[in-house]
C-alpha cells in the first residue's frame, strides 16, 4: 500500500515536472494542477494503511481509528490549490491576450523597448 502510493507520487511528480518544463501554457497549467495533487497525495498517504481500521466517524472500541488529520489537511490544501490554479489560469489568459502567444519561451525572446 505504502509502496504503491510512493510510486504513484513519484510518477505524478515526474509527469508534472515534465509538463511544467514545456513551453505551451496549457501544458504548464496541467503540470501545476497535477503537482498540487501529487503533493496532496503525499499528505494523504501519511494516514498509513487504512485496511483494518474503522472510519474516523465510527467509534468502535475494538478497532483502531484511521488517522483523520491528513484528510482535514488536504481539504485545506485542495482549496488553496484551487484558488491558486484559478489565479494561474487568469494570469496565463491575460498574458495570452497581451502577447498573442501561448508559448512561454516566446515571452522572453523580445526585449522591452525601454530595457537597457
Amino acid at each position: 500500500m505504502f509502496l504503491v502510493s510512493a510510486l504513484l507520487v513519484g510518477i505524478l511528480f515526474a509527469v508534472s515536472t515534465y509538463l511544467i518544463l514545456q513551453g505551451s501554457f496549457v501544458r504548464i497549467l496541467f503540470g501545476f494542477i497535477l503537482i498540487a495533487n501529487a503533493a496532496n497525495l503525499v499528505l494523504l498517504s501519511m494516514t498509513g494503511d487504512p485496511r483494518g481500521r474503522s472510519a474516523p466517524v465510527v467509534l468502535d472500541e475494538a478497532v483502531p481509528m484511521a488517522d483523520p488529520l491528513p484528510q482535514a489537511l488536504i481539504l485545506t490544501a485542495i482549496v488553496i490549490g484551487f484558488a491558486v490554479s484559478a489565479y494561474l489560469v487568469f494570469l496565463l489568459y491575460r498574458i495570452f491576450l497581451d502577447w498573442k502567444t501561448d508559448d512561454a519561451l516566446a515571452l522572453f525572446a523580445k526585449k522591452k523597448p525601454t530595457d537597457v
Binding site: I20, I28, F32, I35, A36, A38, A39, N40, V42, L43, S45, M46, L69, P70, L73, T76, A77, I80, A83, V84, Y87, L88, L91, L92, R94, I95, D98, W99, A104, L107, F108, K112, T114, V116
Partner: protein, 494 residues
C-alpha cells in the same frame, strides 16, 4: 490574547477596504490610521514580550499539540514591528506616489492581506498553519504584482508565479513528511520528537527538503531567478514593501527550522547552507553590478543580503543568530528606504534608468544626504546600522574558523559599495543635460520626509546599538533554546 490584534486588525481593515471600494480621502485615511495603530500596537507588544516573556495563544482553546498555537516570542514580535513599520511607510509613500483616483481600489486591501500573511507566518507554531499563512501572503503578492503591471511587464509575473507554485507544492509535501516522521505538526512537539531521533538520516533528508523549500521562498542561490526581474515591475511603494519583507519571512522560517525544530548536530546541512549562502551573496551582488536602473540594482541586492543572513544562520551559534536577526532588522528598514529613494528619483527625473537621471545632488541635497547615509549603511560603513550586523557576522565567522566564507562576505561588501556608488554617481552626482529635475512636483518633499524618518531609525540603530544587540541576543537565545520553547507551548518539561 495579545497575538490576536496583529491578525484581526489587518484582516478587518482589508474587508472594510473591499466593502468601501470607492476611492476617497476618508478611505485612505482609514488605511493609514490602521497601519499606524498596528505599528503602535506592535511596538507595545515587543515591549510587553521583553518585560513579561513570550506568550502562547491556543486557538479555539484546543490544548497544545492538537490545536494551533500562536506563539509570540521575541523574534515574532520583532518581525511584527518591522512589518508594521515598513507597511506604514510604504502605504504613506504610495499615497504620495499616485493620486487617489489613479490608485487601484484593490491595492490597499491586498496590502493588508499581505501583512496578515506575514504576521501569521511569524507567529504561528504549527507547520501546516505556516503553509496556510505563506499562501495568504503569496496570493496577495501575486495579485499585487500583476494589479498595476502593463502589457509588457506582466510576463515577469509568470516566472515568479511558477517558482512559487512549485515551492508551495513542495511545502505541502514537507508538511506531509513532517507528519509522517514526527506524527505531529506542532513546532514544539516536532522539536521534542526530532531531538529523540537525533542522528537519524531521515532527519537530514527532511531538513534538506525543508531548507530547499524555504530557501526558494527566501531567494537562495541557485533558485533566485524569479525575484530580481519581478520586483521592478511593481509600483515602487509596493516594491519597497516586497523587497523589505517577503524574503525575510523565508529567513525567519530558516531561523526557526534550524534553531528550534531540528536538533543542533546536522553539520552536513549547515555546510550546504553556508556555501549556498556564499553563492547567493556573491552572485546577487554581481547581478546588481550588471543592472543599470535603480530598482533592478536594489532587487538584486536583496539576494546578496539574504545570503549574509543565511551565512550567519549556518554558523549556528547564539551570537551568529543574533547577528542574523540584527542584520535582518537593519536590512528591512534600509532596503525599503532605498527603494523609496528610487521612488523619489522616479518623481524628480521621471525615470530611474541611470543614464537618464542626474543633477539630484545639486537640486535636492536633503534627498542626497539620506541616500548617502542609507547606501553607506547598506555597505556596512561604521558607525551606521549595517556595520554592526556585518561586524557580528564576520566575528562569528572567524570564531567558527570559516575564513573563506568570511572573505567572500567581505568582498561582497566591497562590491555592494561599488553598486551603491553607481546609483550615487548616476542619479545624484552626474550633471546630465538630458535629465531635467522636476522640482516643481512638490510631492518629493513629503516623500523625502518619510525616507528621512526611516533613515533616522537606521541611524539610531547604528549609533546606539547596545539595546538592539541585547534584544537580538535575547531573541537568538530564545530561538536556540528548545527546552524553553517546548515548555512554553506544551506546558510540560521535556
Amino acid at each position: 490574547m495579545q497575538a490576536t490584534f496583529p491578525l484581526i486588525v489587518p484582516f478587518l481593515t482589508a474587508i472594510l477596504g473591499v466593502l468601501m471600494i470607492r476611492p476617497s480621502a476618508r478611505r485612505r485615511a482609514a488605511f493609514a490610521a490602521s497601519a499606524g495603530a498596528q505599528l503602535i500596537y506592535a511596538v507595545w507588544m515587543l515591549g510587553n514580550v521583553s518585560a513579561n516573556g513570550p506568550t502562547v495563544l491556543y486557538l479555539g482553546g484546543w490544548s497544545a499539540p492538537f490545536g494551533i498555537a500562536i506563539v509570540v516570542d521575541h523574534i515574532a514580535a520583532i518581525m511584527v514591528v518591522l512589518t508594521a513599520l515598513t507597511a506604514l511607510s510604504c502605504i504613506l509613500f504610495g499615497y504620495l506616489e499616485v493620486s487617489g483616483r489613479n490608485e487601484h481600489p484593490l491595492r490597499l486591501p491586498l496590502v493588508q492581506f499581505l501583512i496578515l500573511g506575514i504576521n501569521l507566518s511569524v507567529m504561528t507554531g504549527d507547520l501546516f498553519n505556516l503553509f496556510v499563512a505563506f499562501e495568504v501572503m503569496l496570493l496577495s503578492s501575486y495579485a499585487l504584482l500583476t494589479l498595476e503591471a502593463d502589457d509588457w511587464d506582466v510576463r515577469q509575473a509568470f516566472p515568479y508565479l511558477a517558482i512559487n507554485l512549485f515551492a508551495s507544492a513542495l511545502l505541502v509535501a514537507v508538511c506531509g513528511f513532517a507528519y509522517g516522521l514526527f506524527g505531529t505538526l506542532n513546532f514544539a512537539q516536532i522539536a521534542l520528537r526530532a531531538q529523540e531521533m537525533s542522528g537519524d538520516p531521515l532527519l537530514v533528508a527532511f531538513g534538506m527538503f525543508a531548507m530547499i523549500v524555504f530557501g526558494i521562498k527566501a531567494g537562495l542561490f541557485p533558485m533566485y531567478y524569479w525575484l530580481p526581474n519581478a520586483y521592478p515591475i511593481m509600483p515602487i511603494a509596493l516594491a519597497a514593501l516586497f523587497g523589505g519583507m517577503l524574503t525575510k519571512v523565508g529567513i525567519y522560517v530558516l531561523l526557526r527550522l534550524f534553531g528550534t525544530l531540528l536538533p543542533h548536530d546536522m553539520d552536513y546541512l549547515y555546510t550546504t547552507l553556508a556555501w549556498l549562502a556564499a553563492g547567493t551573496m556573491f552572485f546577487g551582488v554581481l547581478g546588481a553590478a550588471s543592472r543599470t536602473y535603480i530598482r533592478g540594482i536594489l532587487s538584486f541586492h536583496i539576494l546578496s543580503q539574504v545570503g549574509f543572513m543565511m551565512l550567519a544562520i549556518s554558523l549556528m551559534t547564539p551570537y551568529a543568530f543574533a547577528a542574523a536577526i540584527l542584520y535582518m532588522g537593519h536590512n528591512i528598514i534600509v532596503k525599503s528606504s532605498l527603494f523609496l529613494v528610487g521612488g523619489a528619483t522616479l518623481v524628480l527625473n521621471r525615470t530611474d534608468r541611470l543614464d537618464r537621471t542626474g543633477n539630484l545632488w545639486e537640486r535636492t541635497p536633503v534627498l542626497g544626504v539620506t541616500f548617502l547615509l542609507l547606501a553607506l549603511s547598506l555597505s556596512g560603513i561604521p558607525p551606521l546600522s549595517g556595520f554592526w550586523g556585518k561586524y557580528m557576522i564576520v566575528v562569528a565567522g572567524f570564531t567558527a574558523g570559516e575564513y573563506v566564507l568570511v572573505a567572500i562576505a567581505i568582498i561582497t561588501g566591497l562590491l555592494t559599495l561599488f553598486s551603491m556608488l553607481k546609483i550615487w554617481l548616476g542619479a545624484f552626482w552626474q550633471k546630465n543635460e538630458a535629465a531635467p529635475v522636476r522640482i516643481e512636483d512638490r510631492s518629493w518633499v513629503p516623500m523625502t520626509g518619510i525616507i528621512a524618518v526611516m533613515t533616522v531609525i537606521s541611524l539610531v540603530i547604528g549609533l546606539f546599538p547596545e539595546y538592539f544587540i541585547q534584544l537580538c541576543m535575547t531573541a537568538a537565545h530564545e530561538l536556540l533554546d528548545k527546552e524553553s520553547y517546548i515548555q512554553l507551548v506544551l506546558g510540560t518539561a521535556p
